[in-house]
Each structure stands twice: as structure tokens, then as C-alpha cells.
């Protein structure tokens, strides 16, 4: 059995609800989706038990009425586990993963700025990557955002 299948097996045996939600797209690539309430368990298990100890990055998605987040975790062996979870746009609140990965701070700030996610537990600090005077409620990576919105808001005086 390949190492990817081993990992999948271990995950499914631990968390029955993952059955059918795991895809191996090619050697060293595992994609899996989970609901928000199950996410912390699965995430912690992957990091602590399965030794996925390197967080590559977090990708945000705008999926119509939901915001989705994909955490790309890597193992020493080169296997990538892509954990996806989603949250409603009305209250897009997720918990920070900084206790496990202090380096995730900047990735989470990016989600805050570009997708309008709310991240519980993120310490105060500079925003990234947008400017301090960026208009509120404008999240550039959401699908409905157009650069023209920025002009309307600012009234563009060039000065």
C-alpha cells in the first residue's frame, strides 16, 4: 500500500465522517474536505499524529455564499495534505492556526485583507497586504469585487 493510502486509511479510521471526502489526485497529493466544526480535530491530528509539520500556505476561495479555506500541509516525505473547510459569508469566522504554526500569521492576515475573513485569535498588528487607508468592506479577491469599486468609494481625486 502506498504512503498516501496509508495516510488516508489512518484518517478514515480516526474520523469516520471523512469517508468519501478524501481524494488522491496523484502521488504525494491528498485533497480532503471537512466541515468547520470537525476541522480543528482533523487538522490537529494531521499535524501531531501524521507529522504534517510544515504549513505551506493557506488558500482562500470565494464560493458564492461561502468562503472556503484550504490549508496546504507538507510532510517530510513530500506528501501534501490539502485540507479544505468552508464557512458562510454572513459570518466568515475561523479560528487561527497560530498555536500550531506561528508562521501562519501572515497567511491569515492575507485572508482577512483579501477575503474579509474574520480570524479569531489573530494578534493585533499591521495589516497585510493592503494599504492602511484601504476602504472598509472591500475584499479584492472576492469574485464580485471589481477595481472600479475602489474608484467609486474614493471618488478618485488623484491627490
Amino acid at each position: 500500500m502506498s504512503q498516501e493510502e496509508n495516510i488516508t486509511q489512518s484518517l478514515v479510521s480516526q474520523f469516520g465522517f471523512l469517508e468519501g471526502n478524501i481524494r488522491i489526485t496523484r502521488p504525494r497529493r491528498i485533497f480532503l474536505e471537512t466541515s468547520l466544526e470537525n476541522f480543528p480535530k482533523v487538522f490537529a491530528h494531521a499535524v501531531k499524529e501524521l507529522k504534517f509539520n510544515h504549513l505551506c500556505t493557506i488558500t482562500g476561495f470565494d464560493e458564492l455564499d461561502k468562503l472556503a479555506f484550504m490549508y496546504h500541509l507538507a510532510q517530510e516525505s513530500g506528501v501534501l495534505l490539502n485540507l479544505k473547510t468552508s464557512v458562510s459569508k454572513d459570518n466568515p469566522t475561523i479560528n487561527t492556526v497560530m498555536p500550531l504554526f506561528p508562521g501562519a500569521e501572515i497567511y491569515e492576515r492575507e485572508l482577512v485583507d483579501l477575503f474579509g475573513a474574520k480570524v479569531n485569535g489573530l494578534p493585533l498588528g499591521n495589516r497585510y497586504p493592503l494599504t492602511d487607508d484601504w476602504p472598509k468592506d472591500q475584499y479584492p479577491l472576492r469574485k464580485d469585487w471589481k477595481p472600479s469599486q475602489l474608484d467609486e468609494k474614493e471618488g478618485h481625486t488623484h491627490a
Binding site: T25, R26, R28, R29, F31, N53, H54, L55, C56, T57, T59, G60, F61, M70, H72, A74, E76, S77, G78, L80, N82, F101, P102, G103, A104, E105, I106, Y107, L114, N126, R127, Y128, P129, L130, T131, P140, L141, W145, P147, S148, L150, D151, H156, T157, H158, A159
Partner: protein, 411 residues
């Protein structure tokens, strides 16, 4: 400022130590750094958003422009993900050529870094020497790809240019010279007292901290973390090539220097193997006209560390989502740790030691358009925009412009 015993020094967004705009605000007590505040984002250009507005081929060229130095890294990383979604198996010759360019790029980047490091510690001689030798590899890149930077070698399903036997001879010749020079730099970097004085013990990042903060590339490897995507998650032709992953346990800037110069030697060996085993065959394969729906994540060991691109396709003309994580973003967070209790004089070299590339880091957004719905800004508009801006700030160039115009008319 007078009453407090702390100075607050702004390093950036514009500062001679930084080649790109990025803000560091340092609280100083005497010469000692008491606190550091990093503000990123000045180079945010909206590339991720812009990719969603373009088709895959256009996006490829855009992504190549994420960074001027590791352009091949970003282009390859992106295109690997697209090819994975399309289910394309690359011809072996194309894989070898990609690997070759990747290593040439690594040489150019590491030599550039060595020079910048020299400059940051006030050793301009090293800068002049390494940048002179860097011209050799720049010429080779120009010979093979036609460009010194932004090579444009990749296309979906292969590479765009072949290399001829003459090119191979030239590259081998250049690599021989570079190897000689690199041996000399290894000697300089490991034996010259004033360099060692300035580098060792500076910017310490222990192995545990590397793992905790997810530092990548030479920054991590210099702390004894053997992490290299080329070996762990092989792409292109790396699976068929023998090379060592260089690590060092100095954990400081000196270690990072040693790792980089030794990696240069590995790159020469990889290039020689690539050229020796260069398979015959086509350069591209046929790719379905439409990229099917799907998602893929691609990793690539750029000169600065692990580069990650995620691409999601919805089966349409344009990618649904493109996510780029450049190595600097992973490393910049370690800088705070490295500068704890250090001196102001160490600041430039510590920042430089992660080989920061803020263009890469900041990729995304902010299109300030002078006029609405006018995506392409004509030269005239841009010029007027500038004039308006200065006039609004009380600087009037009208007279000067008129003079200039008259002069032009006379010619």
C-alpha cells in the same frame, strides 16, 4: 525623541539597504535593536486577481513577472499545476530543459545574493567580483532563452525553445569558468576574517525555530533542516538527477552564505548531468484546448526556497483561482526572531540573508486607474496623471514643459 531613550528608525519603504519598497521600523536603544515592526505590502500588484481575468497562457506570462529574479521558478511552478490539471505528461527533453534553466537561474540568483550580502556588510569588492561573474550566467541564459530575465521558456505542455549542440558547448564552457570562480568565493567566504566577523553569530535561527516558523530554502537548510522540494517532491527532471541537499549547522548568516555557495557547486553538477543525459525528442505535447475542471498544487524549489502555486480550474477559459506563495513570505516572519537583541549594523545583512524578494511576496492588487473603465493607460494619460499629481502638490512643471516642447519642435 529627545526625552525617550529609544530611537525609532524607519528602514524603508525607501532605503538604500532595501532594493525594493518594504517598511521596517526599528526601535533602537543606542545601537541595539529593542523592537522591530515589519510592514509589507508596498509591492502588492494584484497578480492573483489579474490571473482570474486572463486565460491560462496569458496568466503564465503574467506569473512569470511576479519576480524578476526567479521568474522561471514562478512560471514553471504555475505551469506544472496547470499541466497536472490538464493531465499532460511532459516530454522528457522539455523536462530537462526546464531543469537546466532552473539551475542556471539558481546560479544567477545565488551569485546576485552573494554580491548583495557583500554590499550590505560594506564589502563592495565582493559585490563587484560576483556581479562580474554573474554576467557569464546571464549571457548563457540570454543565449539559451533569448532573454536575460523573464525567459519565457515555458508553454503549456513543454518549452518554447530547443538548445543546440553549440549552446551546450557554450554552457559547459561557462559552467567551468563559474566553477573555478565559485571555488575562489568559497575560499573568500570561509576564510576572510572581516567577513566571518560580520556574518557568524548574526541572525541566529535555531533548528526548532525554523520548524516552528516554517522557514524555507537556504534559510532553513543553514539551520540543519534538510528540506528541499527538488528531492522531497521531485518535479521536472530532478527525479533522475543525482545531487546533494546542502545543509549546515551554523544557524546564522554565515551558515546561509556557506549553504548558498555550496549549492552553486551542486547546480554546476546538475547542469552537467542535464546536458550529458539530454534526451532526444519533441519539445511539446499536444494539450487539450480547454483545461478541464480540477485543482492542483505545485511546489518548486526556487533559489530562495519553496515556491507554492495552487491553481483551480472550473473548465472555463480562465482559471478560477490562482494562489501564489513565494518563499520570502515564509521567511520574512523569521526575521523578527533573527534580529532579537542584535545591533542595527546587523539589520541589513540579516534581512538580506533570507534573500528577500518583496515583489514575489506581495504579488496581489491595487490598480489605481486615473479614469474609470480604462484598463490600458496610454502614455499620454499616465503623463497627465503625473502632471496633475504634482500640480496638486504645489509643483508646477507647465513652464518647463513648454520650454521642452519648443525645443522638441525645433528639432
Amino acid at each position: 525623541m529627545h526625552n525617550s531613550d529609544r530611537f525609532k528608525i524607519p528602514l524603508g519603504p525607501q532605503h538604500p539597504a532595501l532594493k525594493e519598497p518594504e517598511g521596517f521600523s526599528i526601535a533602537l536603544m543606542g545601537e541595539k535593536i529593542m523592537g522591530l515592526d515589519i510592514r509589507l505590502g508596498y509591492n502588492h500588484r494584484g497578480i492573483e486577481k489579474a490571473c482570474e481575468e486572463r486565460n491560462y497562457l496569458q496568466a503564465l506570462y503574467l506569473v512569470e513577472r511576479v519576480c524578476g529574479i526567479c521568474s522561471h521558478a514562478h512560471a514553471t511552478c504555475f505551469i506544472q499545476a496547470v499541466e497536472e490539471i490538464a493531465g499532460v505528461q511532459l516530454p522528457r527533453r522539455a523536462q530537462y530543459i526546464r531543469t537546466l534553466i532552473a539551475e542556471l537561474e539558481r546560479i544567477h540568483s545565488h551569485l546576485l545574493w552573494l554580491g548583495v550580502a557583500g554590499h550590505e556588510i560594506g564589502f563592495d569588492t565582493l559585490l563587484m567580483y560576483t556581479w562580474r561573474d554573474r554576467e557569464i550566467v546571464m549571457d548563457l541564459l540570454a543565449l539559451v532563452t533569448g532573454n536575460r530575465v523573464n525567459y519565457g521558456m515555458n508553454t503549456i505542455g513543454g518549452v518554447r525553445r530547443d538548445i543546440s549542440p553549440e549552446d551546450i558547448a557554450e554552457i559547459l564552457k561557462g559552467v567551468d569558468i563559474l566553477e573555478e570562480r565559485t571555488k575562489y568565493y568559497i575560499e573568500v567566504a570561509t576564510q576572510e576574517t572581516s567577513i566571518i566577523q560580520r556574518l557568524s553569530g548574526v541572525g541566529v535561527l535555531t533548528k526548532e525555530e525554523v520548524l516552528r516558523l516554517d522557514a524555507v530554502g537556504p534559510t532553513g537548510r543553514a539551520s540543519g533542516v534538510s528540506r528541499d522540494v527538488r528531492r522531497d517532491d521531485p518535479y521536472a527532471a530532478y527525479g533522475e538527477i543525482k545531487f546533494n541537499v546542502i545543509t549546515d549547522d551554523h544557524c546564522d548568516v554565515y551558515g546561509r552564505t556557506v549553504v548558498r555557495v555550496k549549492e552553486l557547486m551542486e547546480s554546476y553538477s546538475i547542469i552537467r548531468q542535464c546536458l550529458k543525459n539530454l534526451p532526444e525528442g519533441p519539445l511539446t505535447v499536444k494539450v487539450p484546448r480547454k483545461i478541464p475542471a480540477g485543482e492542483a498544487i505545485s511546489r518548486y524549489e526556487a533559489p530562495r526556497g519553496e515556491d507554492v502555486h495552487y491553481v483551480k480550474s472550473n473548465g472555463g477559459e480562465k482559471p478560477e483561482r490562482v494562489k501564489i506563495r513565494a518563499p520570502t513570505l515564509a521567511n520574512i516572519q523569521a526575521v523578527k526572531q533573527m534580529l532579537k537583541d542584535r545591533y542595527l549594523a546587523d539589520m541589513p545583512i540579516v534581512v538580506a540573508a533570507i534573500d528577500p524578494c518583496f515583489s514575489c511576496t506581495d504579488r496581489v492588487i491595487s490598480i489605481a486607474e486615473p479614469k474609470k473603465d480604462n484598463r490600458v493607460i496610454s502614455w499620454e494619460t499616465l503623463r497627465n496623471y503625473g502632471i496633475d499629481w504634482y500640480t496638486a502638490h504645489g509643483i508646477d512643471f507647465t513652464e518647463l514643459n513648454n520650454k521642452f516642447r519648443k525645443k522638441l519642435e525645433r528639432v
